[in-house]
């Protein structure tokens, strides 16, 4: 099997098996959305208005949760050293790991988003568009988070440090994700400019994330 495909399959298997915690993020997402009406009140009109923002914020926080597992477990059992010494360029290995991470933690968020949107009284016709913005934007969250994950494993520190490093960098993704979602629901601004920029952010982080993360691993673990 192609080594990158092997890494992808291995990481996905590890994530869905016992101790993997792949769907914890989606569960956390559900809980955050459930807590929102308790905080702002059960006013359906208000919930519909802030729904896209709450969904995006919830997805952002949920995608942070599992990030420190990206390298930490591999670092603990030594397989990260093996991956670093392998013949495949480390950038590609890291990208494959991040892709597996998105498929097991980012994609479930996208899948449950329409249901959670219904709970927040988001317009039925806009649910598809809202989900589309999350599908386009969550890869950017994972690949920006990848940098933070690599930095924190290089320093052997996880948890809060990772969130502190990563969250400010995700400001553009949040802005354009929510803007595109709101444009699809209420207008008056068109959907496509914000959505196109959101896709551009995802594509750019797809390239820059693995490069920066690889540099962090190389410099940190040498």
């Amino acid at each position: 099997m192609n080594p990158l495909a092997a890494i992808l399959v291995r990481d996905m298997r590890l994530a869905v098996r016992i101790g993997g915690g792949a769907f914890m993020g989606a569960l956390f997402f559900l809980i955050v959305i459930t807590m929102t009406p308790f905080a702002v009140g059960p006013d359906l009109a208000l919930l519909a208005r802030i729904g896209p923002a709450i969904l995006w914020l919830g997805a952002l926080l949920a995608s942070l949760l599992a990030l420190d597992r990206l390298f930490a477990t591999d670092h603990d059992d030594g397989s990260l050293d093996l991956l670093m010494m392998g013949g495949v360029p480390l950038e590609l290995t890291v990208a494959a790991k991040a892709l597996a991470h998105w498929l097991t933690t980012g994609l479930p968020l996208v899948v449950v988003a329409p249901l959670l949107g219904l709970m927040l009284n988001v317009d039925m016709h806009a649910l598809g568009w809202l989900t589309l913005t999350l599908a386009a934007g969550t890869p950017a969250l994972t690949f920006i988070g990848l940098i933070g994950a690599a930095l924190s494993v290089a320093l052997r520190r996880g948890g809060l440090l990772l969130a502190v490093l990563v969250l400010p960098l995700t400001v553009p993704v949040l802005i354009f994700g929510v803007t595109a979602a709101n444009a699809a629901i209420a207008g008056p601004t068109p959907f496509s400019p914000a959505f196109t920029i959101l896709c551009a952010l995802s594509l750019a982080s797809l390239v820059l994330g693995p490069i920066a993360a690889t540099a962090a691993l190389r410099h940190g673990l040498e």
């Binding site: 940098i147 930095l151 290089a154 320093l155 052997r156 520190r157 440090l161 502190v164 490093l165 969250l167 400010p168 960098l169 400001v171 553009p172 802005i175 354009f176 803007t179 601004t189 920029i197 952010l201 820059l208 920066a212 540099a215 962090a216 410099h219 940190g220």
Partner: protein, 243 residues
């Protein structure tokens, strides 16, 4: 004198020791002149006396942003050229840049209270400066958590380069976001031109802040080098005790 000549920390310390008193003197002098001129500058016809806050606010904003640029250059020095003092320089800049950014935010907020009627508005510039401060605090947090100084410096270097790529994007997105949310309320200081009676003190203050920045930077670098020496001496001592 080439940059490589400064690679030797001992030589660097000697030069700093010789230069620093003069720099401190010049900084104090220029700050005094700048503040005197600023306090005696005429009031703005719209903003009244609050315009004087600008003389601290604007240079602080310049050097808050310049700090990140310098940190990125230092990051290249650490990762690419492996200059031995580059990571000391990068580490020294982080708290200074954060402090200037913080001063910019505080003075801006104090100016906003009488002018806009509120301490904080989610104006595009304020918001991007706030994100810049958060990024600085992230770099500082990285230094706080790293046990090994070299490792922490390389991690911070990577983060500052990532931030350097991200900052223009953040600035652009915040501008976009702001024009969407509050199109009517764009606040600008008196249009495009500043009167010479206000511009001259501002430029003097800019120069004074430049000297202040350089002085602080060199002093913090010196302290950092000394701190590292103490650390390695302690490690050596600990080894001797065990041996």
């Amino acid at each position: 004198m080439a940059v490589i000549d400064l690679a030797n920390p001992t030589r660097f310390l000697r030069i700093v020791d010789r230069v620093l008193p003069w720099l401190i003197g010049a900084t104090v002098f220029l700050l005094a002149v700048g503040l005197y001129r600023a306090l005696n500058a005429p009031d703005d016809y719209q903003q009244g006396a609050t315009v004087k806050i600008m003389f601290l606010h604007v240079p602080a904003a310049w050097f808050g942003m310049f700090g990140w640029a310098l940190m990125s250059v230092a990051a290249l020095g650490t990762l690419v050229w492996r200059h031995p003092l580059a990571d000391v320089s990068g580490k020294a800049v982080a708290p200074i840049g954060a402090a200037f950014t913080f001063i910019c935010l505080v003075t801006g907020s104090l100016w906003g209270r009488p002018t806009w009627g509120t301490y904080w508005v989610w104006d595009a510039r304020l918001t991007s400066m706030l994100v810049l401060l958060l990024l600085y605090l992230g770099v500082l947090a990285l230094y706080w958590t790293a046990e090994d100084p070299g490792r922490g410096a390389r991690a911070a270097a990577i983060l500052s380069l990532v931030g350097a790529v991200n900052l223009p994007i953040i600035k652009f997105s915040v501008d976009w976001w702001n024009t969407l949310h509050q199109p009517a309320s764009v606040f600008r200081i008196g249009g495009s031109t500043i009167d010479p009676s206000l511009l001259t003190p501002l430029l003097i203050m800019g120069l004074a802040f430049t000297l202040l920045f350089v002085t602080l930077h060199l002093a913090v670098m010196r302290n950092e080098i000394l701190r590292r020496r103490i650390r390695s001496m302690r490690l050596m001592q600990a080894q001797e005790v065990h041996a």
